[in-house]
């Protein structure tokens, strides 16, 4: 985005683009922090989950499919690994290696999104909607916002993949563009690890879940 030559020296020694991405991520921390706090506050307030359309009390442990979510979490973590390889390749000027790795990242990102779409439809069918409970509202908006971040990241990486053929990614500037995208991608991953922990895993802490909702009924 910068109109100045990317290699121009800066007072801090950090490139403009990298610095602005760090600042954006700092701001995004507050963004996700607010969403996650909302979820946790309501979780503490209403430990028993939600009531579905038929009026049955539903418990979160029965709703979640922790195996699937663990799998998608693993996939996202691996995509970060590939992203690191892609950034490193670009710094070394190995465009072919960059393309391979970034395709991997894109594919893993799409798998993660697919899992989320599946999860959403599945939960919706089980009776958790955005309208019928506070849990539904906080859960869908929080994870949906994260999914949107992943989707934007995938779109960005697809563009970078194509630009690697047009010559726009040559030299220091290109490596910087990839690195900035990498920062974003890693951040989105880290946020997911937090969400996976405080939204999913804590429901399985102890026999009654951390919120003390009592034993799952069905």
């Amino acid at each position: 985005m910068s109109d100045h030559a990317a290699a121009a020296p800066t007072s801090t020694g950090i490139d403009h683009k990298k610095l602005i991405m760090w600042l954006f991520l700092a701001s995004d921390c507050m963004f996700f922090g607010t969403l996650i706090s909302t979820h946790l506050l309501y979780r503490k307030l209403y430990p028993t989950g939600f009531t579905d359309a038929e009026g049955h009390e539903r418990f979160i442990q029965n709703l979640f499919d922790i195996e699937l979510t663990s799998f998608s979490t693993f996939i996202l973590l691996m995509s970060s690994f590939l992203m690191a390889l892609a950034v490193s390749a670009m710094h070394k000027g190995q465009v072919a290696s960059f393309r391979r790795n970034v395709l991997g990242v894109i594919a893993f990102g799409l798998v993660f999104l697919g899992c989320q779409v599946y999860e959403f439809t599945h939960f919706w069918q089980k009776g958790l909607t955005i309208q019928n409970s506070v849990f539904g509202s906080t859960f869908y908006v929080l994870t949906g916002t994260h999914g949107t971040h992943v989707a934007i990241g995938v779109l960005w990486l697809i563009l970078l993949y194509f630009y690697s053929f047009t010559g726009r990614l040559r030299g220091h500037g290109g490596a910087l563009d990839v690195e900035v995208a990498g920062l974003y991608w890693h951040f989105v991953d880290i946020v997911w690890i937090i969400i996976f922990t405080v939204v999913y895993l804590v429901e399985y802490l102890g026999p009654n879940g951390i919120w003390g909702a009592g034993l799952p009924l069905s």
Binding site: M1, S11, S27, T38, V141
Partner: protein
Amino acid sequence: MAHAAHHAPVADKTELPPERSDIGLLRPDRTTGLLDWLTTVDHKKIGILYGAFAMLFFLLGGVEALAIRTQLAAPENAFISARTYNQMFTMHGTTMIFLGVMPLSAAFFNFLVPLQIGARDVAFPRLNAFSLWTFVFGALALNASWVFEVGHLAGWFRDFAWYQSLTYTDFAPANGWFSYAPLSGTFGQADAALHAPRFTGVGTDFWIIGIQILGVASLAASFNFIVTILNMRAPGMTMMRLPVFTWMTLVTAFLIIFAFPAITVALIQLMFDRTFGANFFNPTNGGQPILWQHLFWIFGHPEVYILVLPAMGIVSEILPTFSKKPLFGYPIIVFSGAVIGFLGFAVWSHHMFTTGLGPIPTAAFSLLTMAIAVPTGVKIFNWIGTIWGGRVRFTPPMVLSLGFIWMFMLGGFSGIMHSAAPADAQQQDTYFVVAHFHYVLVGGVLLGLMAGLYFWFPKIFGRMPNATVAYVASGLVIFGFNMAFGPMHYLGLAGQPRRTHTYQAGYGWEDWNLVATIGAFVLGIGVFLAFANLAWTAFRGRRCESDPWDARTLEWSLPSPVPAYNFAQTPVVATRDAWFAHKHGGPKVGALDDGGPAGVHMPSQSWMPLLASAGFLIVGLAVPMMAMGIPHAGWAVVSGLGVLFLGIWLWALEGPGGYQLVTPAATPSPAPAPAEAAR
């Protein structure tokens, strides 16, 4: 100064052939006139545009304020209806904060920061233009609600099916600038169309999307300014040599990037409640309206400092100049600014003392609020210390700055009164609070910004505002302001609540309300006169030299108006207040050998920020229209988002661009121009 000749005319911008981007786009480098202003990426022009729009919206907010005061001039007045009154105070607050003060501060950030740090532009010039246009379009979207409201009152829509099926007929927002849920949200169960019953109509939707768009503008600008300040300082310009205004800009920008996400999320949640029947703040389904208050004030209290810190920075530049003395205790002023920034995030619940927080949080927030008075007091002490032992010249900016200190101090005292939660239980939501924050925001911020306008106007346009008119305007503003808001202290203690469109006779409020109304009109005339003086000066004013005030910081070393490339050669700084030291026997300002015959590299202009921002305008209009049930408005939302993404994509494809601008031969600076202040 070095530049005898001013910057080369636009047609001579470049000797190189125009550059085309990957997909053949040509960047509008050779444009003039209106096209130049629409596509500019020059931080100075963007700053001027910010200032012009901010002053227009400021006057609009002022008209709204006068409508409020006219209605309250007499008990049971029927000048405007209850609904209109509520819309007026909602839009007055929202306009003044988001469309008046913040953009006016941004105008100063834009114009001054690169000049003060010795840079040729901001780090991301096109992002800067994007911030400007997003602000403008967000403001237009928000104010478009008035058009619909007028149409509603005039009956334009009577024949439309969507209008006939509306349950709620408020078109301009009427929730207050804080839009507390559930008044702004929903209650009860959502129907099949995912709509839960609510208390207000599309006015609230206009407000939500408008604030959301303005938030994007503020965030983008803040990222840009932090990078600029951290990364683009001239050699020798260490952090502890930064002019205080730049420091306060940095703190403000950090406050924005950490505070705005909270309101962004809160607005998303409220929008989901209203649009999709979610339950974030819907009390029927377990949502907690109090959460909105927490999220709003985690943003809202830092926002207060976002408004006031730039004005403090401005005054911290003006006082040393007209006392001919460096700022007293520069490091402490800087650190107290940073401390205010930190503590600003730890006092939000003092807006909620009456919500039943419980004794421990109430006590904690009381003490923290008292604590924040310390760094604020330190600033006042240091300003007085700056004057002490100096030689004070009473120019218009100095008179306004002294007014700032005085009024801000009074506002600080009533602030200390609020910090005591038990006393606040009586004052919360009364005119006492209205008096308090207007002393801070009008007596403080507005006077500070006006001082800044009169101080830097000669630099911006190379013309000196008429001093007599400026004194008269300042006098009217200060007198009218005190007449309008001084009595409100009494009214609040005598029990008049805020946000009430009328009151009965017999409560002892009649006389002082009338006085306040007359004062408000005097204030209005004063502000109008001050702005009119500036507007006239911009086109017709007397030309003046480049450093008329014998000022201290780098921007005054440049010709007025400042050439497009700012510094023909990047300055090298050896001390704080480098330009003053340079003129008065201290270390000289050096120069890098980077101007030269090859010229200065300039960023190319661009249509893309405007295009991307226009997407926001479409979204900002279409989302409320969708809420009204206007057919096909949903497609307009989609197309608006499409325009936004198209703008960003073409922006990325435009390529870096840029051209060389040849500067006049740079020679080391001769002796300083004789300082002569306008009296």
